[in-house]
């Protein structure tokens, strides 16, 4: 596909995503934060359903060698990086998606968060230019690299290559695990609802306020 075609496909995809996320109030940050802080699971359930659909979809096509899976070596830097990101997204009250979506709604705080994400990236580029860690993609081999704290590259396609079992099989196992988590959340929600049922209406109202905050 030509560069213009790629960019156009990306823009159309992004526009639909932005519209649907704005209208549905989905937020990845809230999916994790609300489950931990407020025991509400509206966004967590949507996140799990998405991951189930995508796991089946991606591994189906990967079984036949189609699609464009992400290709780079992974290592300790993913854990540290996303740990910092996780703290950051809760403090900023927005993740990478909701900063753009909230900026589109006129949220000045989200635009400020984006600005500082850019500044953070630029500061990191300065640090990287001294440490050269994590390794640049050009130097990645796909094999474990202990000095660089890298584990190499592995996904559903490499599993299929090594075991001879179709990638889709592993995908279905992962989907079953995600579904079990989804069911556990539904059970927990029912328990919470039972506990709250005899309580007064004011409790219900605070619950709604918490939900709309996300």
């Amino acid at each position: 596909m030509s560069v213009v075609g790629q960019c156009l496909a990306a823009f159309i995809f992004g526009s639909i995503v932005g519209f649907l996320v704005q209208r549905s109030r989905f937020c990845n940050t809230a999916a994790l934060r609300d489950a931990m802080l407020f025991k509400t699971y509206r966004n967590t359930k949507a996140l799990l359903v998405t991951m189930m659909i995508l796991t089946v979809g991606f591994t189906t096509f990967m079984t036949f060698g189609d699609g464009h899976p992400l290709q780079f070596d992974v290592g300790i830097n993913q854990v540290i990086g996303l740990f910092l990101f996780g703290i950051g997204m809760v403090l900023a009250g927005a993740c990478t998606v909701s900063t753009w979506v909230k900026a589109g709604e006129g949220n000045v705080g989200a635009i400020w968060a984006l600005l500082f994400t850019f500044i953070g990236m630029f500061l990191f580029s300065l640090v990287w230019s001294y440490t050269y860690w994590p390794p640049a993609s050009a130097t990645m081999t796909g094999e474990p690299n202990l000095t660089g704290l890298q584990f190499g590259f592995a996904n559903a396609a490499t599993l299929q290559e090594k075991t001879g079992i179709p990638a889709l099989f592993f995908g279905l196992v992962q989907t079953a695990v995600l579904y079990a988590i989804y069911q556990a959340i539904l059970r927990k929600e029912r328990r919470i609802a039972e506990q709250r049922a005899p309580a007064s209406k004011s409790v219900l109202e605070t619950h709604i306020v918490v939900e709309s905050k996300s």
Partner: protein
């Protein structure tokens, strides 16, 4: 226009996004945001620094500024789509954080997100909607990190809210 006043169901909305994401995966690659933001950072830095940018090896070895990088347009699309959604539902208005504590938290949060994305090569979108559904080892490493981070972040957030 009554249709646009109701909040959409998040599960249905995200299911539609998932199907579109599979199409995008087949044409260019799965939904991601961090890479596009990095490229924007590079382009902005190039605009201000010009040739001086060549003195920072990162922008030569890892991300060479390139306006034709498709991931940038996902972010711009999200901004555009959200603006349309907000205008149709009459939800667009300028919201400014009122308290100094909010500004401080957003500033620190933004910086941590930027550094975290570059350190990990992925953002939350690639973690949940790219790497993990592809069963990439990095997806599980990233999920461990982001859940631990969100937990620590929630504790800090709660402390700040209470004070």
């Amino acid at each position: 226009m009554e249709f646009f006043k109701k909040t959409f169901d998040p599960v249905i909305s995200l299911a539609i996004i998932s199907v579109l994401n599979i199409f995008l995966f087949l044409t260019v690659g799965a939904w991601t945001v961090g890479g596009g933001e990095t490229m924007m950072t590079g382009l902005i830095a190039e605009f201000f620094l010009g040739d001086e940018l060549a003195r920072i090896p990162f922008w030569d070895l890892v991300f060479k500024p390139d306006a034709g990088y498709w991931k940038i347009y996902i972010s711009l699309g999200m901004l555009f789509g959200a603006l349309i959604g907000a205008l149709l539902s009459k939800e667009f208005y300028w919201r400014v954080p009122k308290h100094l504590s909010e500004w401080v938290m957003i500033t620190i949060g933004g910086l941590l997100m930027g550094v975290g994305i570059r350190l990990a090569f992925v953002c939350n979108v690639s973690t949940f909607f790219g790497l993990t559904p592809q069963m990439n080892l990095g997806g599980y490493l990233s999920m461990t990190g982001i859940i631990a981070g969100a937990w620590v972040g929630s504790i800090i957030y709660k402390k700040v809210l209470e004070s």
